[in-house]
């Protein structure tokens, strides 16, 4: 058999958000507001204390909690794989500008926050999170903030991400079909136009239904 490059794998649809770990564990059932509060406290602690051992401790704690809630570790760690390029650049920059200790400190802090947030996303319904957001904003009513509107915006943002990921993928395929896979414009212009078009269509549909808030 002729040897050749391995065929390009067909990628499954990107699911950055809206993907949840299956199950009904204590973590899945805990109220969204409580989980957001804990996440906020943990994040604040990690950011303020700036101690690599504390951050690493949080990482371990997140992984142990995930294990106890039977959330597959793969689903949490996939975030690291998705962001590896960004994290690598960050580490290299830190090593160039600072010492090893600072690098470890920065990296562990970022990982702790990201993974804790990922665990929240995996075990909480998006609608519940939007509900929490609305409750947090409710006291700001007197400033003219309309929580229902902000919640609707958040919901549409969440929904748009898989659509944009699809559009991006399609633009890549279309560019490749024309032999333009190295052309930045061929890959990004359709994405931008698609995004604007999708935004207009969404706005028109909501307008037609007379919906201004959730």
């Amino acid at each position: 058999m002729r040897s050749r490059r391995r065929p390009r794998r067909l990628r499954p649809r990107e699911q950055v958000l809206g993907r949840r770990a299956p199950g009904r564990s204590f973590l899945h059932r805990a109220p969204g507001g409580l989980k957001v509060l804990v996440l906020a406290i943990v994040t604040a602690a990690v950011l303020l204390i700036r101690e690599p051992m504390v951050s690493l401790g949080v990482v371990v704690l997140v992984l142990v909690t995930a294990g106890a809630a039977r959330v597959p570790l793969r689903m949490i760690l996939v975030l690291v794989r998705r962001l590896w390029l960004l994290l690598t650049v960050l580490v290299v920059l830190q090593l160039m500008l600072n010492d090893l200790f600072t690098t470890a400190e920065v990296l562990s802090r970022i990982l702790a926050c990201l993974l804790a947030a990922q665990l929240l996303m995996l075990t909480t319904e998006p609608t519940e999170l939007v509900g929490v957001l609305r409750r947090i904003l409710t006291p700001l009513r007197f400033l003219g903030v309309r929580p229902g509107r902000v919640a609707l915006a958040a919901l549409i943002t969440l929904r748009s991400i898989p659509y944009l990921a699809d559009t991006f993928h399609l633009a890549g395929q279309q560019a490749r079909a024309r032999g333009l896979e190295r052309d930045l414009r061929a890959r990004t212009v359709p994405l931008l136009l698609g995004a604007v078009n999708h935004a207009r269509n969404t706005g028109r549909a909501l307008n037609a239904r007379g919906i201004e808030e959730v």
Binding site: G18, P162, N201, L206, A208
Partner: protein, 234 residues
């Protein structure tokens, strides 16, 4: 302004920049099933969107059951539902049931009554089994039926369909049309459909051919579709 039932256009011109998109000197629509055909960019969408006030006439008046679409946009939109051709952009909530409930938020205060009405609407459209699925994982055909449900649950008197089956396969398109026709008859809903599907266009009491921003032909479907075919010979 007249108090007559139905849709009335009076000396309407829609201008974008210095381009005339649509010009309709006079038009009255009272038939239960109306279809609009014509080439891309001819003005079909603009015509439909004028009826529920999504597009406002630059000059002239459009009224629905005596309500001016500029003065009473919200009331008009409440009685004239609109279904677009792109299914994904019309749904905002994670599940079909929640999306249908969202439509009712303004009119039905009680949340259990809202749920009951939404469930009933999905059942009527034969898609009760989709209620709790993830909207974004549904097929385009299913999404389009959900989009129809979000509009029908408000019991509109007019249903505006802008190329509703363009992105659907044959079986889903037929199912969609069947549901619209059955419900249209049962609930006495006037349907106005813009389409490129001439078989679908033929299932109407009256057909308009819109081309170059004007109504070029208006009458029984067979005759108007014949005119369109003649205009379109290459």
């Amino acid at each position: 302004m007249t108090e007559a039932a139905g849709i009335e256009f009076t000396r309407v011109r829609v201008v974008a920049g210095d381009r005339l998109l649509l010009s309709i000197p006079a038009l009255q629509l009272t038939e239960p099933r109306i279809t609009v055909i014509g080439p891309n960019g001819g003005g079909k969408s603009t015509l439909l969107q004028l009826i529920n006030g999504l597009v406002e006439p630059t000059e002239g008046f459009v009224s629905v059951d005596g309500h001016d679409t500029v003065d009473h946009g919200r009331a008009v939109r409440q009685s004239a539902g609109f279904v677009f051709s792109s299914p994904a952009a019309q749904l905002v909530m994670p599940t079909p049931l929640e999306d249908v409930e969202l439509s009712l938020r303004r009119t039905v205060r009680d949340s259990s009554a809202r749920r009951a009405a939404a469930t009933q609407c999905l059942t009527e459209l034969g898609i009760a089994d989709l209620a709790d699925r993830s909207s974004q994982e549904l097929s385009s055909g299913q999404q389009q039926l959900v989009a129809l449900a979000t509009v029908l649950v408000l019991k509109p008197r007019i249903l505006l369909l802008d190329e509703p089956t363009t992105l659907l396969d044959l079986i889903n398109a037929r199912r969609f049309i069947q549901q619209v026709e059955a419900l249209g008859q049962r609930q006495k809903i006037t349907t106005i459909t813009a389409t490129h599907d001439l078989d679908l266009a033929a299932r109407a009491d009256r057909t308009l051919l819109v081309q170059g921003g004007r109504i070029v032909a208006d009458g029984p479907p067979e005759r108007v579709i014949g005119t369109y075919r003649q205009h379109s010979t290459v």
